[in-house]
Symmetry: C2
């Protein structure tokens, strides 16, 4: 079955973005079941969490960085089902010709303020997060909570994946600036959300002009090979292109030096133009290398620039960079500098990294396995009943009920455990507490109260009837949250390859509740 698109003009002919029907069909199907069967208003409780941090094949993330909350809250705050939406749904028919959606459900859906009666609690955007921990919880009428599922997952999974990758790339750069360059090969309009996440993870800015403006940042960039090619074709050569750049942007002059030959042509021509700039009272910014052996060329270019009197000129590197490539480049520079008898730090401190495709696509692990699971429901007597799914894989049985998460810091101030318990528990009430592995039965850990310097409750209410959602953090504040949290991780957890496992544990009460429910369901 198909019917006319909602939008048919040229301008609007491809308008799908993130409206109220940006969700999976089955959410509407299920909501209709709940409405027509009279259980749509039962209060329910759903958790958003992921089951494992990204595994990039040869390397793995030891932690995640949560992103996407603010755009999601903006979406929830602006949900409006219009007559056009209802009309489109009403036009859908089964192969037998009967309407897919009945009047009872469509009237329910069209009710104003349908989405207002929910409470969303969340770990703050930009914070470090770990597997199994409920990051966001939604409580409200069953059918409304259900309808939110797919859009919520869409708003959180990809941004969290990219913020996580960005935090790793930034860490590998060891203080060098990382620029986001990914829009040309990234996922269509999804690059916008990817860029926002990359900035939360620590990129200093992006090349995408529109996204940068929307985020309150200044976009960054140099020039392409095309500029040099154009001047070469017009007979003015590489140096003609460099002079044109310098004339147009004398105070921001970064020259791409690898169109012809980096060391024989590009860098010498750049130095000639830098000398002309300096003579005219301007200080050049640097050069960019986009191909070849970047470590070797960076050392060679640094030596040429030093000898010419430009020890502060930046060297921007780009070309399929990611956390491993940057790590490798810095290692090779250190080795090569030792061979040459020069100071490696004088080279690496001037490096800037333009990171594109591999960041915006999370190279090696292109999707986060975040899920949104029903974990509790108010039964017909008004009592809360935990909900579980019996799966063949014990690690996939969700944690039942309303829960709290506490982050425990040791005496060094390092975050060492995320402890998940029932909402009404008091954490670490005793001097010694036994806690449990979230997915492997029988693996326990002992926590001594004396070893813990601080207990932090991780969730805040971010959406409810009482919350004014207009105060939101800036992108720089979100990035700062991420930076602080990453710094509080053990260095072993931050390792790029084979990281030490951060402890996520269950309290005995939660652990026993899940065990009982699984046993009951299997009877």
């Amino acid at each position: 079955m198909s019917h006319e698109p909602l939008a048919t003009t040229v301008a609007d002919r491809w308008t799908a973005t993130r409206g109220p029907l940006f969700t999976d069909m089955y959410e509407l199907t299920m909501a209709q079941v709940y409405v027509t069967q009279g259980i749509s208003e039962q209060r329910a409780h759903f958790d958003y969490f992921f089951r494992s941090t990204p595994d990039y094949g040869t390397h793995q993330a030891g932690f995640g960085v949560f992103a996407g909350l603010d755009p999601f809250l903006s979406w929830v705050n602006n949900l409006e089902i219009t007559a056009a939406h209802i009309e489109a749904l009403a036009a859908m028919t089964a192969p037998t010709g009967t309407p897919v959606f009945g009047t009872q459900f469509l009237d329910w859906l069209a009710t104003p303020s349908r989405f207002d009666d929910i409470e969303i609690r969340s770990i703050a955007e930009g914070r470090v997060v770990h597997p199994h921990v409920p990051i966001v919880t939604v409580t409200g009428p069953l059918a409304v909570c259900q309808l939110l599922e797919t859009s919520l997952l869409n708003h959180f999974n990809y941004p969290t994946l990219i913020a996580t990758k960005a935090a790793r790339v930034v860490q590998s750069a060891r203080g060098g600036s990382v620029l986001e360059f990914g829009m040309r090969r990234g996922p269509s309009t999804g690059v916008n959300e990817g860029i926002r996440a990359a900035l939360i993870g620590g990129c200093v800015s992006t090349s995408n002009v529109e996204a940068a403006i929307a985020l309150g940042k200044q976009p960054i960039g140099t020039h392409a090979h095309a500029l040099v090619q154009a001047y070469m074709a017009l007979g003015d050569g590489e140096i003609g292109a460099f002079r044109a750049m310098a004339a147009t942007a004398p105070d921001e002059c970064i020259l791409l030096v690898d169109t012809v030959n980096t060391l024989d042509s590009g860098v010498p021509n750049a130095i000639t133009v830098f000398d002309e700039l300096r003579a005219a009272g301007h200080e050049p910014v640097g050069v960019r290398l986009d191909s070849g052996d970047l470590a070797y060329l960076a050392v060679q270019a640094a030596q040429l620039l030093d000898a010419a009197g430009y020890p502060d000129a930046s060297i921007v590197l780009s070309s399929d960079l990611d956390e491993l490539n940057i790590w490798q480049i810095l290692t090779q520079i250190a080795d090569y500098a030792e061979l040459l008898g020069i100071d490696a730090v004088s080279v690496s401190k001037r490096l800037v990294y333009g990171v594109g495709t591999r960041l915006i696509t999370s190279h090696g692990s292109g999707a986060l396995n975040g899920v949104y699971k029903l974990v509790g429901i108010e039964n017909r007597d008004g009592d809360w009943t935990p909900a579980i799914k019996i799966s063949e894989d014990p690690g996939k049985v969700p944690l039942p009920g309303r829960k709290a998460v506490w982050r425990l810091y040791d005496q060094r101030g390092a975050a060492v455990v995320d402890l998940i318990g029932l909402a009404d528990e008091e954490p670490l009430a005793d001097e010694v507490t036994v806690v449990h592995h979230p997915s492997h039965d029988g693996i326990n850990q002992v926590i001594r109260r004396a070893d813990i310097s601080h207990i932090e409750l991780l969730h805040d209410t971010v959406f409810s009837e009482d919350i004014d959602a207009t105060s939101t953090p800036t992108i720089d504040e979100l990035a700062e949250r991420c930076r602080v949290d990453v710094d509080r991780l053990d260095i072993g957890v931050r390792r790029l390859v084979n990281p030490h496992r951060y402890h996520v544990s269950l309290t005995s009460k939660l652990y026993e509740l899940r065990k009982t429910l699984v046993a009951d369901a299997q009877v």
Copy 2:
């Protein structure tokens, strides 16, 4: 440097999508150089092409499917630089405080119809495409062509990647329907473009309601584990959930049977409810399996459904499917059916595939390496000069000049060669023609005119002052183009693993031109 975002209200606080500044900063920088240096209006010629088909690690694509053209043309047709855009650009400053963009450039940019004076030629959207072949060419003022670069790449690379993956998945399903299910883990708003591409590649519809409506399709879906969990928590069990589904959608009843135990609980309960449905005059549609050994469970479920009198009930499979997993499932079903002495085709013909994450992220190869390169420029005398980039990798030297592409079909009607030549050449003028490998010097091929049944010129003009852009194909027409083209490929080129290489060749004139230009540039 940063400044206030353009949009500051809650509703609009994250508005970056694909406006006229959806481009890289350096395109604006270069355009300003061209404008201020007086060469912005020189006619230039850029080619869009990719260098290799996706390599998924253990398997490789033998062809690509071009997607993204219609949304790109819509974007070009609606480019409008507003006062707010100019204001945002004017506010950007260098660290020294001088404006990044001067009045001369901003006035040029703000000129109405600035983007009208270009010609875009393209291979039709949905067609099969190959490496090195110019898929889209843009001719126009140098600065305007340059400004289009990043958005053009963003519009083409990801959709082409996903259409290619979808065509492979559809092929692996051997006639079984493939449904697009990827929005929950896909790249934020980018899933919309991914879905459109997946449908071009042959998916019959998508779970995303909004995208389906925008594309004139009916969205599809079943239900989630949450529905079963909710009824279990309310005391009505799995069968209570199934009865609720059947009552609400009696003519479209597909039941998810793996929440408790697929063969002991899910399928028997589904059959009970199917019997009740049939007694009430409705025919059930099928069941869905979302976990476990899908091949084994599909055979077992098929036998149970057959025995109960439902030989036509569909079995929808989902759970990290891609082309290899589907191929494996069908192979295992064949093996298992032989073991049981039953007919494998009776099982496989009822299968439907819900393909999500691995399609929408192009699992194994998350980005297409498409580029947009300056290949010719009108010099100051009004003559066209080919432009090249001398790179360390000979395969990366672009094909110079204005070109034509001919697709050659053999006497079976199979497409066998894409031949790239200069625009004014006559292809295969002689009985025997020697053609050249596009990136490896000295590898030649001989084409006999007698072996060729049809020569197809691949490009059409899709944007120019004379073109009315309102007539555009429907998504079904695009999918049909793809299907026809895939069918015309040699079966070896269609292999999922280690495909036979499709021939892309250069005419001798083009080959010699590039050789001469490279030699000249290296003097």
